[in-house]
Symmetry: C2
Subunit: 318 residues, 2 copies
């Protein structure tokens, strides 16, 4: 928990993190709380002079936590909802952050390339997911940025399937959605492959999703709304009668957390700014048949979207 | 989001989970929300007859979410803080849950045994963590229940260290804290090993931590408070002058989430009940020298604590 006051900041943590905080924290004083972070922060506030007005992050703080803060800090503090000020600060990345995010994106792209030879009939979804997460750590990532998705056959139509013991079989689509955390920043990459020679209909669907992704990327630039990017992907899929099978939004912000502002969804009014990092990930999901999703991470620049992920988008028939 | 009303329940989810919900959900109607779960739940409530009183889980719901619910449901609904009713329901496991948790605990114990031969000088902490998480998936677990901890040498004194590229060296302590999710339930196991022949002082510290763990386990039974269990571990460590180096609580509840009720901390008044599953994990951490922690998962029975984890607690000098 971080308390920011004028010219000083205090990080409240507990004794599990004493040594780590001493080593890793700069720019803030460290307070090791003995009886909970909320109590320590409230007591610190009570020691300040005069009446205070304190903004908190209502998107992070639960109703219970808010009640505890209010009770412990007493009438001295007037609590103000801070809106999404933290989320807005986070949405735009500085150059140091972009350098790390580029590395995290290249890392997961290399993990994908490395795992392709291991996507074989007879292997289980869990086995492939294990290879991916092993690869992330082998390349120095601290771990996956979310639960790795490996979904094959009919299960690939579940946009957020967790991997199971189901074995990969010939003539199946396989959706791989995976990300790495590197030095605190997330990447997020999806590729869809086919085991065997894909039917024409499947190849056409892949092409439509790929073009939808390119359409969405092509409108990304500062000043455009998140909803316009989403709409570009949807518009391309409509041409092939696939818009009804695109059952989620086109993307989301990415950074310290795997889902940050802005959400690239239908009608979203958030205006893209230079330095935002977002995923572009249209997909189509047909029950019984399977799903196809293609996802990259891009940074918003004055010249448009620049890819951070580097894996090939060619349709792989393995 | 689950809405429970008298004789019916409704699960609100979004279109990413349409097929999965259809396949996996029983005992609740499924509502695929188009414009957010909060909006869908609020609109459902507005369609009910008469005025309503609705309890919500204040430990889960953020201040922003509560505000949205209130605004969307309007004056028809009186919102009541549900306290920790959900957490209390979850704390006591039924026999089906205990059977799965036993399997999750045995799974992580086998993963530990399998990884021991791979804990070698020259390997990095990340490499060992990768082997652990690979092993979890190879044995059918859906993934780690939290970010795997592999902390060696001086870093083992960081109770919650994330694994790094640091290589394991001779004459170092290595703390391995790892857990698996199996069919939705978590396990959590810590073992500490030594690379080489350990100094007498280190062996004595290990013995003290092991005896502290046994002391804590021996007082576990229905009717005892969580604080009494914590106190038993602390009391044993005091005998060797180590109580000051035991910088966290003795354990926590375990189940669908890796941290559930009750917390086995200093002075905690929660009374243990039959069927609760808790971790027992005392540890000592000395800056510069390193840390030792030993953790098992136990179920509270009328005959006392019964181990769910099955890994040997013998001090391994590798």
């Amino acid at each position: 928990m971080l308390l920011v006051e004028g010219t000083r900041s205090t990080l409240f943590t507990d004794s599990r993190y004493t040594f780590q905080a001493r080593k890793e924290v700069s720019g803030a004083r460290i307070h090791i709380a003995k009886h909970g972070l909320l109590r320590a922060a409230s007591e610190a506030l009570r020691k300040r002079r005069g009446r205070l007005q304190v903004a908190y992050s209502p998107n992070q703080v639960t109703v219970t936590q808010k009640g505890t803060l209010q009770a412990l800090a007493g009438s001295k503090v007037r609590w103000v909802r801070g809106g999404d000020v933290i989320e807005r600060l986070r949405a735009v990345k500085d150059l140091d952050e972009l350098a790390v995010m580029r590395q995290a994106a290249v890392l997961i792209s290399e993990v994908f390339s490395g795992v392709v030879p291991k996507i074989k009939t007879g292997r289980s979804e869990l086995h492939v997911a294990a290879e991916i997460e092993y690869g992330i750590k082998e390349r120095g990532g601290s771990g996956p940025s979310f639960d790795t998705i490996v979904a094959s056959g009919a299960r690939s139509a579940w946009a957020h399937a967790r991997p199971t013991a189901k074995q990969l079989r010939k003539n199946e689509l396989v959706v791989l959605d995976h990300g790495a955390i590197l030095r605190g920043y997330c990447s997020d990459l999806t590729r869809t492959v086919f085991l065997g020679k894909a039917p024409t209909r499947t190849r056409e669907m892949y092409q439509a999703v790929l073009e939808a992704q390119e359409a969405a990327k092509s409108v990304v630039r500062p000043g455009v709304t998140a909803g316009e990017v989403d709409s570009a992907a949807r518009h391309r899929l409509k041409r092939d009668g696939l818009a009804g099978y695109f059952t989620h939004s086109t993307g989301h912000g990415l950074g310290i957390e795997v889902h940050e502002m802005p959400r690239l969804g239908r009608g979203e009014k958030t205006v893209l700014e230079e330095g935002m990092v977002v995923t572009i990930e249209p997909g189509v999901y047909i029950e019984g048949l399977g799903g196809i999703r293609i996802e990259d991470d891009v940074v918003v620049t004055s010249r448009g979207a620049v890819d951070l992920t580097s894996a090939s988008r060619e349709f792989l028939e393995l």
